[in-house]
């Protein structure tokens, strides 16, 4: 049984805005490297990417209030960011350098 959800407006909202943007950028970046055609795919890709980024950003920001507290929002989303950015930079600097 989940405990009470604390409002923690500023803690959660800041996590949603900042880490939501980070997650948007890194996940969509992974699509740029791993999607069909890879990083050298025609330039339509980066035009499409801003829409995908907006989608991820809005989703993370919207649902970040479901975390139990501001602290847990920062912890979970921070961890997700770390993993996604690690994967992205691995693609950029190691696998597809």
């Amino acid at each position: 049984m989940a405990g009470d959800i604390r409002p923690d407006w500023w803690g959660k909202a800041s996590a949603g805005v900042i880490l939501g943007f980070g997650l948007a950028l890194s996940l969509v970046g992974l699509y740029a490297y791993l999607g069909p055609g890879g990083i050298d795919a025609p330039g339509g890709r980066y035009s499409l990417m801003r829409y995908l980024e907006a989608f991820v950003w809005i989703s993370v920001f919207s649902f970040c209030f479901l975390f139990r507290s501001g602290r847990s929002a920062w912890a979970w989303l921070g961890a997700a960011n770390l993993i996604a950015f690690a994967a992205l930079f691995a693609c950029r600097f190691v696998f597809f350098a």
Partner: protein, 550 residues
Amino acid sequence: MIRADIVRLYKTVHTWTGITCGFSLFIAFYAGALTMFQEPIARWASPPSVGVAAVSLDNAPRLLELVAAAHPQARAEGIKLHLRGHENEPARVTWEEDEPHEPGQPHGHVHWWGTLNPDGKLLAKPEEPSELAEFINDIHMRVGIPRPWGSYFMGVISLLYGVALIAGVITLLPSLVKDFLELRVGKNLKRMWLDAHNVVGITALPFHIAIAITATALSLSSPLWSAQERVIFGGKQAILDDQENEPRRAPKPIGEAGVMMPPVQLLQKLKEQVPDLEPRFLVFKNFGDKAASVRVPGRERGYVGDYHLGGVMLSAVTGELLNDLTRPARQDPDRRAAETFYGLHAGHYEGATVTWAYFLLGLSGAWLFYSGNLLWIETRRKTARKGGEVEQSRSTRLLGSATVGVCLGCVAGISLTIVAAKWLHGRVDDLNHWHELIYYAVFLGSIAWAFASGAARSAVHLLWLCAAATVAIPLTTLTALLFPTLGMWAHGSIATIGVDVVAFVGALCFAWMAVATRRRITTGPADSIWSVRKADAATPPREPAAVAAE
């Protein structure tokens, strides 16, 4: 089942994101709804001109030759040959030339049009086209804040709007099955407004989701692209961008004279090679050169999206396709997806049905934000009441005034600036600048008036102002018809008459709202901000002008 505490949480999220964004979104949606008819408005506002029909397509080669000979800069910049004959196309051909300027300084362009005199000689004139329709689009994109800050501001607003949308849906989910499409019309006005707010919001949800995502992406395009470039692409994006633009670049002139294919034959060639493209105009580059080319932007039947990026390029000598990589059927899948997103934002699909649907959805969206603010104010009153009637708190009174002033000020400002297109044409030097002045004067004046005389009173005044300003649009056309000496015009095309008809219907709606609001402020609950009774009884009037108007 969603837990009650989560619903409460999201109700708060919905309220605060909604209140923060409501004003800007009202303006963006109202002006955005009008941009669905950007072209008819541009045609309505364009003064009578020589027109495209003055030179037949068969005579176009001669006109093009004369322009190319007399205006070498037009050869390089591109000569536009219009095909449709709309009122906002001043003549068969138009082009732009650089304004005189200091080297290295940013400069503007001078717009020219050209036609043939009866004796077959070239008549060319510089003339600035009406930018009224573009100005309304600017208001839509940046709520009147200069670029680039207006775009960034609206990007943040759009982001919060997306959050407000999802939070609103979560808030509504538990009671959705029970209450959905149940509009409780009756004594409880607040209940009825809430029901209406919910029905309008939920039925238009797919539209709102599409708009929230695309508006965030479009407004924040340049920061998002810089972030992508730095973090993801590491410099590659610029190279890809360059490759992407390659198909749009005209071949360089080779300096040898060539025989140009007449436009009629070029269009024939185009139809053979790309049957589904619907050309609106042709742009000739390096006319007269052996390597001259003609770019044909246009929508392609069967694809979402308009002509703003797609099209084909033909050789102006042979009519052969030079490339067609940017037309919808040949775009790479990512570009097609991106263009589809853009088309979803702009309503560029399925023709007139979707244009009208987007117009009405845009207006209903504007109403959604207006009603949302009013609901918050009423909820505040209910919470504060606890039994007897209460004084409205300062914050609710201010928010009420701001809502009325911003929303109705935007409506009246846009209507009056449209009207000015005909009245001020030929009477002022820089009409496009006047469009801005008039809009901002009415907008800011309305806000000042709303704060000075309170939400209730000013709502009635400003609604009448909206009705008057909007009915002035068809009345201006009527005046032009009755008094030709005034130097105004009344076009006869269905598109421009449509502008007048829609404005007339809109004015009737505003007048009806003014009557209803007046009834409410005189007979509604006295502790609402929508009442003048308590204010009149308890406090001496502070605003003599408002009392005089009562």
